[in-house]
Symmetry: C2
Subunit: 339 residues, 2 copies
DNA sequence: TTGTAGGCGTTATCAG
DNA sequence: CTGATAACGCCTACAA
């Protein structure tokens, strides 16, 4: 039933070495033989066993990806971008979920080593030094995507969007539209890129415009509707002077904030403007349509994958330590100019 | 650098056969030796090379999944459910995207055969007879998920939600709430399960209640916002008597329909009720909150994966040809009782 | 240009 | 219970 290289060799009346050569185009073979071999290969529908091949070449043509949650559309888009490049490179993608847990991430690093992946795209939550250390000793190349290392290691190639700059731009947008009393609903404090960096961007924009804001204007959610709702509620209830705008660090929390405000008989954007983050598919479909900052996770995946393949091709190729994917401020109807 | 079974054998002063035995628990080994071997394995951090192993056992502990689009949250949830089971079985997941194209699906069937996956979960768009035939000759087990075969083959195990029944129930829900003039916005006509079957469920419910509906009440979208908007527009513009309710075959098109109606100064649910399908994450966050039918794609993935593993364990195990995942009608605010 | 043969790291089949 | 040793299917010096 299953046909091996030997069968082909016999049937084509050549050595298996020759067959191997025509398959891999690895050395000159006379046109005549080449044709004969091809003929038989086609006829018998022969496909070389990648296990046997991998055993020798130490290559599997598989690359791994670890994401916190594959059902999150953000990581869906990221994965799609990655897969796009993989396909055209003849690679295939192994997907693993970490749940955002360091323990699990470490375990996956092992498992993927076992599987002999040729490389790994890693989307973490807090890639600290010990995790980086673990990555360095793995014998397959790794590129961080979506989240840079949190402890200043420049040791692993990274492809991210600029969270600081993106949030800075978004808040500047609010300021440029006349807002001075700006609240903030961010991500978890232990989330390095999407939590801490976005907060930093917020603070930076305020500072640069000499705007001060009370502590009670700042809340941390965890990117869920529920947490966005609660955060907005807290800001609403615990401030005698309400903000005129809120920078919310993802779209779903932004929607939640809007829902809360509606319940409280506040109108968005008339009374309060809301700025989202991500420009997820649905941002456009809510009413009011959400002003937000567009991040293309697909593009991020594409660039990360390309970078990884460069690394696979040549471990020492010259690549910037960190590459940024551009973002864009999208004006829709949840933010209005004031004054 | 890389340690093999032979190194372990040497260092533990046993034969490689013995090492293999303790690793795989395949035959009795004296406790003494077993301990010694374990010790060395731990010390040297030895992990057997799965390629070499696979070469002999013909097992890779990899299963494949093909979906039309991994960035679609529906398939994200499905994948998550599948991955859940894979993990606890010590398997790892290879994800492929077909774009819903038969050509590509066929190609992936080949590629995954090459990769020597131990099994495959297949989410197609129109799994016709020729595709099924191709699947039958593959030497790894396959289970269909999300979409059954379209040409009455009962040859491949299948796990789906009951599209006919689900839509039937949803439309019955509308009828029970007093609606008689019910329009329908469905999926593509070439989409077997999600297109044709849902239409069938719609027609069935009408028929059973002796309700007739003009041709112009029925539109086909392609599950995008845009197509939902257009379909609703067409129904609105081309009927002198408007429906009191519309059954829309996914949530995003349902939202689009609502947006169109709002633009047309119609109120949902006051003037027209809208019923969605899927209960996607956001269905709850729109206003009005969407009445819909809940499908758990996660559960579907779980059951499909379990089924596949049964098949992998025992090719001839007794499994129903088609297993159904239950659905549930969710009442929210986009549908109101009339009369 | 072509063929022979050794080896990749395991498991499985024999003897002992 | 333990140990040689032949596969598994392919690539790649090395020789011819």
């Amino acid at each position: 039933m299953k046909v091996t290289i030997e069968d082909i060799a016999k049937e084509a009346n050549v050595s298996i070495a020759t067959v191997s050569r025509v398959i891999n185009n690895t050395k000159a073979v006379s046109p005549e033989l080449r044709e004969r071999v091809h003929e038989v290969i086609r006829k018998r529908n022969f496909r070389p066993n990648p296990l046997a091949k991998g055993l020798i070449t130490n290559r599997t043509n598989i690359i791994g990806i670890v994401v916190p949650d594959i059902s999150n559309p953000i990581f869906g888009a990221l994965t799609k971008g990655i897969n796009n490049i993989c396909e055209q490179q003849g690679y295939t993608l192994m997907v693993c979920e970490s749940g955002g847990q360091r323990e699990k991430e470490l375990e996956l690093l092992e498992i993927l080593a076992d599987k002999k992946v040729d490389g790994l795209l890693f989307a973490g939550v807090d890639v600290n030094h010990s995790l980086v250390k673990e990555m360095k000793i793995k014998d397959y190349p790794i590129v961080l995507v979506t989240q840079e290392a949190s402890e200043g290691d420049e040791e692993i190639k990274t492809v991210v969007h600029d969270n600081v700059k993106a949030t800075y731009d978004a808040v500047s947008f609010l300021i440029n539209n006349g807002h001075k009393k700006i609240a903030f609903i961010g991500g978890p404090e232990n989330d390095y890129s999407s939590g801490q960096k976005r907060l930093k961007g917020f603070q930076l924009a305020l500072k640069e415009n000499n705007i001060e804001v009370p502590e009670s204007y700042i809340e941390h959610g965890n990117f869920t509707f529920q947490s966005g709702f609660e955060s907005m509620k807290k800001i609403y209830e615990e401030n005698s002077v309400l903000p005129t705008a809120v920078m919310v660090c993802n779209d779903i929390m932004a929607i939640a904030a809007i829902r809360f405000l509606e319940n409280a008989n506040m109108s968005v954007p008339h009374d309060i403007s809301i700025m989202g983050f991500d420009d997820s598919e649905y941002a456009n479909y809510f009413s009011p349509e959400l002003s937000t900052v567009r991040i293309s996770y697909f593009d991020e995946g594409v660039k990360a994958a390309k970078t990884l393949f460069k690394l696979i091709d040549d471990q020492y190729s010259i690549i910037p330590n960190t590459q940024f994917i551009s973002h864009k401020i999208i004006r829709r109807n949840s933010v209005r100019p004031i004054e």
